[in-house]
């Protein structure tokens, strides 16, 4: 059953200078297109991961779906009850002046208006569920480690009884050993509560562990969307191939690792046609002139024409 559908979602940010400066210096209005015509759908119970380099628009897309931004164009249809979000920085995502029990209770208090006693026992339950003890509710966030704070964030998100949980790089600020614990907790909760995850990450190792399907973002555009097993064994889009080739690989397979070449272009002046053409080894005239449509879940002229498989 489809939980979420995105259709041509685009988001522009106004990054022009102040009106007076623009007037005096004759500068035009400048728009940054952070997300550009993204369409995909999300089924109940699955985990979709969005990957991409910094500035690829992953976080903006997450915030669009969470309702923190409105799309400039396009449509987001959510068929569930509630979305909750877990943020990247566990040091900034908990209000430092609130006790943990207040932080976890806020969604219950605001969304369900339960009695104090009910809320209290629910908070204790949630803290237990994420591997903390109910007594921890009396403490303040600064008394916890990064991993524990992320557990608190998860408890708070679960308090809102979400259908969809958006995780914006939930482990990238944590130590590697703690990352695994948090990921295990998340997949255990998914099984138990039949949650749907939208998982934003730039860490392909993490993504391969948690995701059912993976979408690859480049400069705000979705260049490839495939099941995780397919994407990791047989990447199709040249950009995806480049990413995969850059992943350190532990079973020294003899495969030559190629570093990711070039840098993400300036999103204020994106390349014409296919945004990836300046870095693409298969690029030719048509890629410069024409934006590739997303066919068979890959947006690439070379694949469309069968020049690469």
């Amino acid at each position: 059953m489809t939980l979420l559908e995105l259709d041509g979602v685009t988001r522009d940010f106004d990054v022009s200078r102040r009106w007076l400066n623009r007037l005096l210096e004759g500068e035009p209005r400048r728009l940054l297109r952070a997300v550009d015509g993204v369409s995909f759908s999300l089924e109940r119970g699955e985990t979709l991961a969005l990957v991409g380099e910094s500035g690829s628009g992953k976080s903006t897309l997450a915030r669009l779906i969470a309702g923190l931004y409105r799309p400039t164009q396009g449509r987001i249809a959510f068929h569930g009850k509630r979305v909750q979000m877990i943020f990247q920085d566990p040091y900034a995502s908990l209000n430092p002046r609130w006790r943990v029990r207040e932080i976890v209770a806020e969604p219950i208090r605001v969304l369900f208006r339960r009695s104090t006693a009910e809320t209290c026992s629910k908070v204790g339950e949630l803290l237990l569920q994420v591997g903390l003890s109910p007594e921890d509710g009396e403490k303040y966030p600064h008394q916890f480690s990064g991993g524990q704070r992320q557990r608190i964030s998860i408890a708070r998100a679960l308090a809102g009884e979400p259908d969809l949980l958006i995780c914006d790089e939930p482990t990238s600020a944590l130590d590697v050993s703690v990352q695994a614990q948090i990921l295990n907790l998340m997949s255990e909760l998914q099984r138990r509560l039949s949650l749907t995850y939208l998982f934003i990450s730039h860490n392909l190792a993490v993504v391969s562990q948690v995701a059912d399907r993976v979408g690859v973002l480049y400069l705000g555009r979705l260049v490839e969307l495939a099941s995780a097993s397919e994407l990791f064994t047989r990447p199709r889009h040249p950009y995806t191939r480049m990413l995969m080739d850059a992943v350190p690989d532990i079973e020294i397979s003899g495969r030559a690792r190629t570093p990711v070449a070039g840098e993400v272009p300036n999103p204020l002046a994106p390349p014409s046609g296919c945004a990836f053409h300046p870095r693409c080894p298969y690029a030719y005239d048509r890629c410069v002139a024409e934006r590739p449509p997303s066919l068979d879940r890959v947006a690439c002229h070379a694949i469309e024409e069968g020049r690469i498989s």
Binding site: A66, G67, D89, N95, L111, S153, G160
Partner: protein, 302 residues
């Protein structure tokens, strides 16, 4: 339990190690205590006309020839005991100072929160008003508000409402610095993810400002407020000295200095000098506490 926590707090530790802060705090406490307890510790009720005796006018301080022991710091032109008028006057000065700081704080913090959190046009409007107001000296704003209120209100009620008007004018003159400080911190807090987490569950901007942002931006405000109390007392004294402050029937320290000023050249210096000295001690001690608090809360100075 609470006292133990307060004692162990970092700020208390800083406090115990700073002799200036301890001295200033004790002095401030003494001033505030004396002012609050004026009706009980003052030798005379200077506003009770029945006990005043014109034969006892212009008495010098007790230790000078002609002084009386009952009038430790001498008496004024109406035979009022200077020490008692100072104690009662400090009460009014402190009261006006605290009330106007409270008003400025509420106005400024609300404006700063709204400007910082809502941004856009609201921000531009509030901060432009602040800029314009900041280009005038605070005392001028206070004089303006005071003058307008005096013209707008009937003359008969003027003595009665003089103090509220004064509080209003000093409070209104001082909101800008709170607004600026709070706006700055709010801009930082607004970006933090706990604010976005609150937005995801659909909390209103007002609830987020009051419950999430406000507790996180209050630190610098308390420092400004402490230092502002001293400034507000000075402003009140200046306005009273200029004759637009509290009426002579209910004199504050500023009024006492103004009234005494008329006798300075005829040799009765004590009528103006002692209230002046009291004002200096009061303002200095409050200021020192404020300065210490500012340094103690500034991580870069630790």
């Amino acid at each position: 339990m609470f006292l133990k926590r307060a004692w162990d707090h970092e700020l208390a530790w800083h406090f115990r190690r700073s002799p200036v802060a301890i001295a200033a705090a004790l002095l401030t406490l003494a001033c505030v205590g004396a002012a609050l307890l004026a009706p009980w510790i003052a030798p005379q009720d200077p506003f009770n006309v029945a006990v005043l005796d014109l034969n006892e006018a212009f008495l010098p301080p007790a230790w000078l020839p002609g002084g009386k022991a009952a009038f430790l710091l001498g008496s004024d032109n109406q035979g009022r005991d200077i020490l008692s008028t100072i104690l009662y006057g400090a009460r009014i000065s402190l009261g006006v100072g605290l009330a106007s700081v409270a008003l400025a704080l509420v106005l400024g913090v609300s404006a700063g929160l709204a400007a910082g959190y809502l941004g856009g046009r609201t921000d531009a409007l509030i901060m432009r008003i602040a800029d314009v107001q900041l280009s005038f000296p605070a005392i001028l704003i206070a004089l303006l508000v005071d003058g307008v209120a005096r013209v707008a209100l009937p003359a008969s009620s003027q003595d009665r409402i003089a103090i509220p008007v004064l509080v209003l004018s000093i409070g209104f003159a001082g909101w800008v610095q709170y607004a600026r400080a709070v706006r700055g911190s709010t801009l930082v807090e607004r970006q933090k993810e706990y604010v976005q987490a609150a937005r995801v569950i659909g909390r209103s901007p007002l609830a987020i400002m009051a419950e999430h942002v406000l507790p996180n931006v209050l630190g610098p405000v308390l420092v400004i407020a402490t230092i502002h109390i001293a400034t507000a007392i000075i402003t009140e004294a200046t306005l009273s000295f200029l004759g637009v402050g509290v009426p002579a029937t209910q004199p504050s320290l500023g009024t006492l200095i103004r009234v005494g000023n008329e006798f300075l050249y005829s040799g009765e210096w004590w009528i103006t000098v002692f209230p002046g000295a009291a004002l200096v001690v009061l303002v200095l001690s409050v200021n020192l506490v404020g300065d210490w608090l500012r340094d103690a809360l500034n991580p870069r100075l630790r």
